[in-house]
């Protein structure tokens, strides 16, 4: 079957979807009597117009890279992991326990240990739904979303009853030791004599996230396990015929997926708040779904989509902070982007495909 060129598939389609979403958002903003142009300018300036804005945009991007990769890996095995929220929350618990109870003298040591804690807790949270899916056929969409609620309840219990310092009203853990403070990118820039992104939360985890993209690419397209995951995702009977164990692949893919979601906690819990708060994840697990869909489950696509959502998050935040556009509208704009790039993807893709194919035919004739 003929296909449209790859660049049109990967870049043009999402771009047109994005423009459509922006056009409708502009109409909504007009309808409430605000200027869409000013809104766009505020978002772009606030998110990309200064090193300060970039510092926040890249911070959110880091979160979304991890949760996006988590969804993408599971998706290659044809598993729809929508439990990134809970897995990331559990990852936060793993990070908090490691940093609060292990005496780690320096961040270079603390980072890998906390990463192990985050990935293990995230993976463990994905293990039960994975096992239920593999052995009992309980649908992973249902079980992972239920596990989000269980994670929230568990985290609440642990923070309120176990980790909360006595006398504090805030359901949050105590601060992590100063020695485990992760360097911010602004600190690194300052070390090189550059004033960049002062007081922004983006930290070395961003580099870890980029490396994770590369590793996921290697895993999916350059390893035997990756091949098995893709084969299983395309056709379970086919994989079975080839001697691939469905149980093994389901569990492994979900463990990797959960681990990646859990790793997000390095960024928000260890890198930013430096203590565990109740709603540390703040929906990043769900945004990861949109990121993976938009990035077509490819690590590079995930990276770019995460950047877009990082921009929307930070730009939207700026919009709500500094204009009179109510914050609910920011959610509308974000939802429109998700709707057009995710759910209504074929609305743009199919006509575009027809256009390319008819042009090609004419060229051939």
């Amino acid at each position: 079957m003929d296909k449209m060129p790859k660049w049109a598939d990967v870049i043009l389609t999402p771009l047109i979807s994005l423009l459509l979403a922006m056009a409708i958002s502009a109409l909504v903003i007009l309808a409430i009597g605000e200027s869409p142009w000013l809104a766009l300018k505020t978002m772009v300036d606030g998110a990309l117009g200064s090193s300060y804005g970039w510092g926040f945009t890249l911070y959110y991007t880091t979160n979304f890279i991890f949760t996006g990769l988590a969804v993408a890996v599971a998706y290659h095995a044809s598993l729809f992991n929508i439990g990134g929220e809970g897995q990331a929350a559990m990852g936060g618990l793993g990070v908090a326990l490691v940093l609060l109870y292990l005496p780690l003298p320096h961040w270079i040591l603390a980072l890998p240990v906390a990463m192990a804690g985050a990935a293990m807790f995230g993976a463990a949270w994905a293990l039960i739904p994975a096992w239920l899916q593999a052995r009992r056929g309980s649908h992973i969409v249902i079980t992972t979303i239920m596990f989000n609620f269980i994670a929230a309840a568990l985290l609440n219990y642990v923070l309120v009853n176990l980790l909360r310092p006595v006398g504090s009203m805030d359901p949050a853990s105590g601060r992590f030791p100063e020695a485990t403070h992760l360097p911010k990118l602004s600190d690194i820039a300052l070390g090189m004599g550059l004033e960049w992104g002062k007081n922004t939360p983006v930290n070395v985890t961003f580099i870890v996230a980029i490396i994770a993209c590369l590793l996921v690419w290697l895993l999916i397209w350059r390893t035997r396990l990756g091949y098995e995951i893709r084969a299983f995702g395309r056709s379970e009977p086919g994989a079975l015929y080839a001697g691939i164990s469905p149980v093994r692949i389901t569990v492994l893919a979900m463990l990797i997926s959960g681990g990646l979601a859990g790793l997000m906690a390095i960024n928000n819990v260890m890198g930013e708040s430096e203590r565990l708060v109740l709603n540390a994840v703040e929906g990043a697990g769900f945004i990861g779904i949109a990121v993976a869909l938009m990035g077509r489950n490819h690590p590079l696509g995930v990276l770019l989509a995460a950047l877009l959502f990082g921009f929307l998050y930070q730009g939207g935040g700026e919009l709500a902070l500094w204009t009179s556009i109510p914050r609910e509208l920011i959610i509308v704009i974000q939802a429109l982007v998700i709707l057009f790039t995710g759910a209504l993807d074929n609305m743009v893709r199919m006509p575009l495909e027809r256009l390319f194919l008819s042009r090609r035919k004419r060229g051939a004739a």
Binding site: L38, T42, D45, G46, G49, S50, S51, Y52, G53, F56, Y59, Y60, F149, A152, A153, N156, Y157, V160, R164, V166, G167, S168, M169, D170, P171, A172, R175, K198, N199, P201, N268, E272, S273, R275, V277, L278, N279, A280, E282, Y313, G316, G317, E318, A320, L321, W322, T323, S324, R327, I330
Partner: protein, 329 residues
């Protein structure tokens, strides 16, 4: 606002503009949002009253995410807002970090103690107001069983619960107290349907007065109680008017006064801890035209008596926050 948008270009411009010193006060609402019909909205009411009385102007921000807290505080401080008032304990940690960087800016935080030389911490003795609500519940109850419905299961709400339990048990030592929490996620603050279901469940177990300390969820509790013909107790704002004659009273927490006072003090805001207790009128039970028929003379006397004893220190209402335990269950 026009000035604000131009500042978006970044820190450099912000630094320039701070020379212009817009010494307007600022108010930051927590994630619950400005119009939550409860805590944040009370803060808004206080700010609006200040505007009406002084004709001044203030800036306000609503938080979208955790990472924004520090961002918002720094940006407001850099644009010269003074004082900066914020609602909710969740700002405590961040304010502790930010306040020393802006020694000339005054901050006020509600519901949390932050020990910095330029911060005023405003805390309420919710346990005292809840104690009075418990006394009234005990006297209004025919069945001897009353209920408590909390929002999200966090320590702050246990403080309400514990005060209520103490007041109730002081009047009816053998009475039964039913306790339910709506949930463990922030959605628990805004789930009136579940609040209503919990109220009906408590009624079926015999409760005939139910105290809701649950933000927007409480609206459902009050509604269900009114429908079921039992009494309810509102929280934070005076909610007696929502169902006249069906709401026994409301445990009011004068967040509006705290904001009003901070705005009025302006740059002279005194640092330290301000305790808004019963004696200072920071908390209390609301009695107005809507519930006066429910409050008997005997009940009024008991409340006045308890209030006087709490104010004089004769009755010590245990504060759950000090040791995370409650002497009565």
């Amino acid at each position: 606002m026009g000035v604000m948008t131009r500042l978006l270009a970044g820190g450099a411009l912000a630094a320039l503009a701070s020379g212009a010193a817009l010494a307007d006060p600022a108010l930051i609402y927590d994630l619950g949002g400005k119009f939550d019909k409860s805590f944040n909205e009370a803060a808004y009411a206080g700010a609006q009253r200040w505007v009406e009385e002084t004709g001044g102007a203030y800036k306000e921000l609503e938080m979208q995410s955790e990472a924004q807290r520090e961002q918002a505080l720094r940006r407001l401080a850099e644009t010269g807002a003074n004082p900066i008032v914020m609602t909710g304990f969740a700002f405590g940690d961040v304010l502790n970090k930010v306040a020393p960087d802006y020694p000339d800016t005054k901050f006020a935080i509600i519901d949390m103690v932050v020990d910095q030389p330029n911060v005023q911490s405003v805390v309420f003795t919710e346990e005292q107001g809840s104690y009075l609500a418990g006394v009234m519940a005990a006297m209004a109850s025919q069945s001897g069983t009353v209920g408590f419905i909390g929002g999200m299961d966090i320590p702050l709400i246990h403080k309400f619960e514990c005060g209520y339990a103490q007041g109730f048990k002081a009047v009816k030592p053998d009475g039964k107290l039913l306790i339910n929490y709506t949930g463990t996620t922030p959605a628990a603050w805004n789930d009136p349907v579940k609040g209503g279901e919990l109220a009906k469940a408590q009624k079926s177990q015999g409760a005939d007065v139910i105290y809701a300390a649950a933000g927007g969820t409480g609206i459902g509790v009050l509604q269900a109680a009114a429908d079921e013909g039992i009494l309810s107790i509102g929280v934070d704002s005076n909610q007696n008017h929502l169902h006249p004659g069906k709401v026994l009273t409301s445990m009011v927490k004068r967040v509006d006064n705290a904001v009003f006072d901070a705005f009025t003090a302006g740059t002279d805001l005194a640092p330290g801890v301000t305790v808004m207790d019963l004696a200072a009128g920071g908390v209390g039970v609301a009695i107005d035209d809507n519930n006066k028929d429910l409050v008997t003379a005997e009940m009024q006397a008991a409340v006045d008596d308890a209030a006087a004893k709490i104010a004089s220190g004769e009755i010590k209402v245990h504060d759950y926050a000090t040791d995370s335990t409650c002497p009565v269950q």
